[in-house]
Symmetry: C2
Subunit: 212 residues, 2 copies
Amino acid sequence: MRNKKIVGAPSVRRLPSYLDIIRDYQQEREGVEYISGTRIARELDLESIQVRKDLTITGIVGRPKKGYRVDALVSAIERFLSWDTLQDTALVGAGNLGSAILGHREFALHGLNIVAAFDSNSRKIGTKVHGITIMSAAGMDIQIRNFGIKIAILTLPPEQAQDAADILVRAGIEGIWNFTTKKLAVPDTVAVQNEDLSSGFALLCVKMRTRK
Amino acid sequence: MRNKKIVGAPSVRRLPSYLDIIRDYQQEREGVEYISGTRIARELDLESIQVRKDLTITGIVGRPKKGYRVDALVSAIERFLSWDTLQDTALVGAGNLGSAILGHREFALHGLNIVAAFDSNSRKIGTKVHGITIMSAAGMDIQIRNFGIKIAILTLPPEQAQDAADILVRAGIEGIWNFTTKKLAVPDTVAVQNEDLSSGFALLCVKMRTRK
């Protein structure tokens, strides 16, 4: 049951913003071949040694004075995160948070493709949210299997989260991105990422305190 | 301009969930005096040495065999995070994500008290979202000063984020919790916590890959 420890979790967390910076740089300067760790660091207000260290987990090696080949760097990050192909994903719970996630334009650039959304509220079923038709949670297991979906985002009330997770796991889901406060019990073979909104607020408060 | 590095950011991130576990434990067993690091670890599927190490940043010392005094542990975490008093906060942008945050019941337990919410959409102004009346963004600076608010949550479109941040800083805001993808330029004295939703998805994907 113990969660396998992710080596360099803080580094992994920073990779999506590196990807954004690199892509912006690529667009601004058509045909540019190299980008330096220092440039990425400057954009994100980080130390350049930190950026270089983070990027080593993807296996890429930079060239002294030149930096990283832009194409190779994008590929290395995408491959490391399995974002080189879009991951078909189901969203469970189309309330405010679920709707915000359905409308988050950046996800498409980050390997995330929401292909199905479910809710148990009959007034929502059949309506469209950001282009996705909300389906009944009652038929969720069959739809998940039909679509061959392996990732689910949980944005429903915490008291419904475990029941939903049980159904999702039986339907073949291999990864759950859990936005509820419920700690889920799932088999060892299923990965869970708990998104605790308060974590960021804790960091902000500590930053504010150390600034005084 | 360089962001001051937060010592032990991953530890800080975990503290809110420790607080939840400890409070649940306190409620379940009225009058209980001690809680062990091992128990907290088991609830969260972490190693107990990790939990003990995380808790040292708050300055608390446990007793061998017994663990931590429950009351002292709650106080130590709350004091470390400045959550011993509720922080009055303004929310800027009452779209789906903003509404989800206004309705997030757990924030009240985590030192966060949203006392004002702003939007520029005239159809939203004057309506109530989860009990909070949405005010016009046009009068934001005056209201922030009136309320003496020091923290702002940005949940508006990224292209409006820098303008809003400029107004907020002039109105005396000291901490910005930024849910937009825009990297903000603010004075050194203002703390910014960027919330990148894709970070969690990156971690989930790496976990799924290492599980295969």
